[in-house]
Amino acid sequence: MIWLDALSKSFGKGERCREVFSEVNLLIPSGPIVGIVGERGSGKSTLLRLIAGVELPDRGHVHIEGMPLWSGGIGMSQHPLMTVRQNLRFLCRLYTEEDMEMEDHIEKILELSELIPYRNMLWKDVPVTHKPRLKFAVMAVLKSDVLLLDGLPNPKKESEIHEMLQQRMKEVSTLIALPNLKSLRRYCDAGIVIHKNRLHYFDRIKEAIKYYRKEISE
């Protein structure tokens, strides 16, 4: 369960001040896969950042039940001067209690992200094309209670990660920021539409889509 309690957030100061959320109250239940849609720049990622705790609200609070894992931070937290394996060992140690389990997770993540040939290479030397896969593999393998996802892996090119992640999303609470209605309909059980600094929660996808089409655009 995630509870947004009178949440306000704006960026910039004075004339340039742009408000993203004003006095938002929302209870997001655990269980359904919740997609977040809205216009470009409406604050989809900001919402995830606020829930993950990397962005502080101007006013209000975020209460979150269980342990969240935010996809946006995983790449950021890889140290450039450590090898892929060293980085993964650090990360997996946080989410496991036994070293056996940790090594297990590392192997799975390396396999899923197709980073096995690079495992002993420094993170800064890994080709940029291979880096984005890591975060989805990590999200699919590590045991957290709430997944905060910024986008989804490509279902065609990265089918194995995609499948694993789908499986994982069914087991825990999930919040995904999505670029369009198509993926909302395809992957989610419930939807949040961001419109005019407010959040609108819909239990059913159909209603979310109807609202989006009516208020925002086709």
């Binding site: 705790g53 935010w70 931070g73 937290s77 650090f90 140690r93 946080l94």
Partner: protein, 288 residues
């Protein structure tokens, strides 16, 4: 009456309220234990991470850490010999320099790294398991371990050359060093929290640590100073630590100028102030 009720309950349930209490306490204890275990695991993970990235991840980094105090010790020993002649001291100058400088460098390193540690590990705080203070503790632990190894290497070197490095009062030397580590940590915590919100603090401190080497009685005992200078230099808390370590290490020196109450004040006050400020602002660290 209540005893009777307890017995009745026991007969009905086959289970006494005391059993419930015992079981409940056991669960509490188990939870506490696993919480401590988890905390240890996080600090260990951060310790390894910092170990892998400090020293540039290369052997040359470690060699430099060993060489730096060695060079300084030898340099100051030679300077001492040049300035005051060979036989003027009643103690072994190399041992005096070593016993002062290694703890002092450890103090300075913990202080300087603690100030930046909150900022350096900022990309990890969104993992809810990682608290900024864990990174702080891991850092202090790492620096202390590195200097522990450096000390062992330098002591072995000295023994090989034939220097008598056995301290007069081993226990008090250890107390002095551990206390100095605590002093560095309490100031590091306080200034580290400040540095996150006012970066000028960090620059100010690194500027300040330069004269600190001269003003901390690292390479001379305070009893050689004229009374007025001695009175002034004793306002510096680090001087007391140096005097404690020197006085306990070398048999011809003593600890008569050490003011333990003064040392306690300078340790406790920043420690609690730092912890209080940290608790108040911890939730803001991730976005700083």
């Amino acid at each position: 009456m209540s005893e009777y009720l307890l017995k009745l309950l026991h007969r009905v349930n086959g289970f006494s309220p005391l059993d419930y209490a015992a079981q409940w306490m056991e669960i509490e204890l188990e939870e506490e234990k696993s919480a401590i275990r988890r905390f240890g695991r996080i600090v260990y993970a951060l310790f390894l991470r910092q170990l892998q990235t400090r020293l540039g991840g290369e052997v040359t980094g470690f060699i430099w850490v060993v060489l730096q105090p060695l060079v300084m010790i030898l340099l100051f020993t030679v300077m001492h010999a040049v300035i005051s002649g060979r036989s003027s001291s009643s103690y072994d100058v190399v041992v005096f320099m070593g016993s002062g400088m290694i703890p002092f460098f450890l103090f300075r390193t913990i202080l300087q790294t603690s100030i930046n540690v909150f900022k350096q590990n900022r990309s990890l705080y969104f993992y809810p398991q990682v608290k900024p203070i864990d990174a702080f503790l891991a850092n202090a632990l790492l620096e202390s371990s590195i200097y522990g190894i450096v000390t062992l290497i330098l002591l072995s070197l000295a023994m090989l050359v034939g220097v008598d490095v056995i301290p007069k009062d081993f226990d008090w030397v250890i107390v002095g060093i551990l206390w100095l580590i605590l002093l560095a940590m309490s100031w590091g915590l306080l200034l580290g929290v400040f540095n996150l919100f006012y970066p000028v603090v960090g620059r100010f401190v690194s500027f300040l640590t330069l004269p600190l080497l001269i003003l901390s009685a690292v390479f001379f005992p305070v009893n050689i100073l004229p009374p007025l200078a001695r009175e002034w230099i004793l306002y510096n808390p680090v001087v007391h630590f140096m005097e404690l370590i020197h006085g306990s290490y070398l048999s011809s020196l003593d600890t008569r100028y050490v003011d333990y109450g003064y040392m306690i004040e300078w340790t406790i006050v920043p420690l609690f102030l730092g912890l209080w400020l940290y608790r108040r602002s911890e939730w803001k660290f991730v976005a700083q």
